[in-house]
């Protein structure tokens, strides 16, 4: 079961993302294009950093606590999922707060979706 340890934290974030987007009725799928563009840029930069950091032993992953599949023999697939689910959760948090605070000074009309 230890192989799922990294995956577990990603599942936790995914459940939070789903819960928030449904309860705030954010209708997230309508933003798929914008999300792909945003995440493509984030992934290009941060996976490059990750790849470099693993190659130079800045950090490493316990092979007994990850699934084992790796991109280019270096980056665990959990890392790739991380750079999808975390930006998604970030955007969902922003959208939910924007909606929640739409009548306050924190949000102006052109922030609304």
């Amino acid at each position: 079961m230890a192989h799922y340890h990294y995956l577990l934290v990603l599942a936790f974030i995914a459940v939070c993302a789903l819960g928030v987007s449904l309860s705030f009725r954010l209708r997230v799928p309508r933003f798929w294009q914008a999300f792909i563009l945003t995440d493509a840029a984030i992934m290009a930069l941060y996976l490059a950093w990750d790849f470099w950091a693993v190659a130079h032993k800045n950090w490493s992953f316990d092979s007994s606590q990850i699934l084992g599949a790796k991109l280019l023999h270096r980056i665990p697939i959990e890392e790739i999922a991380f750079f999808i689910i975390v930006p998604l959760m970030t955007i969902i948090t922003y959208l939910a707060l924007t909606k929640l605070l739409s009548k306050t000074k924190f949000v102006s009309d052109h922030d609304l979706f």
């Binding site: 941060y46 316990d62 930006p87 970030t90 707060l97």
Partner: protein
Amino acid sequence: MIYSDIALDAVLVAVLTDLFLLRTQLLTRGIFWLTYGLILPFQLLTNWWLTSKNIVMYSSSEIIGKRIAGAPIEDLLFGFSMILATLSLWVFITRKLNLGKQQSDRPL
């Protein structure tokens, strides 16, 4: 301490992107800081899980050594840079694609 250096650079790049490159100016907006403040405790929670179980291990020569919730303090810089970069790109792209309510509802 190369992780420290790169993490600082990442924050710098994200800040410059937000303020000058994409001009999304999120750093000047309360909504950004509220979003960051809400995400931060969750980052600490996931950091704690990943580091206390040694799922991710950091080379002690590449960090300054100060830790918060089990993870190197550099992780906070990494997290901040990614949250700012993500939201800056998001705001820029949704404006370009005209996805905002105000934009699409605006009379010609």
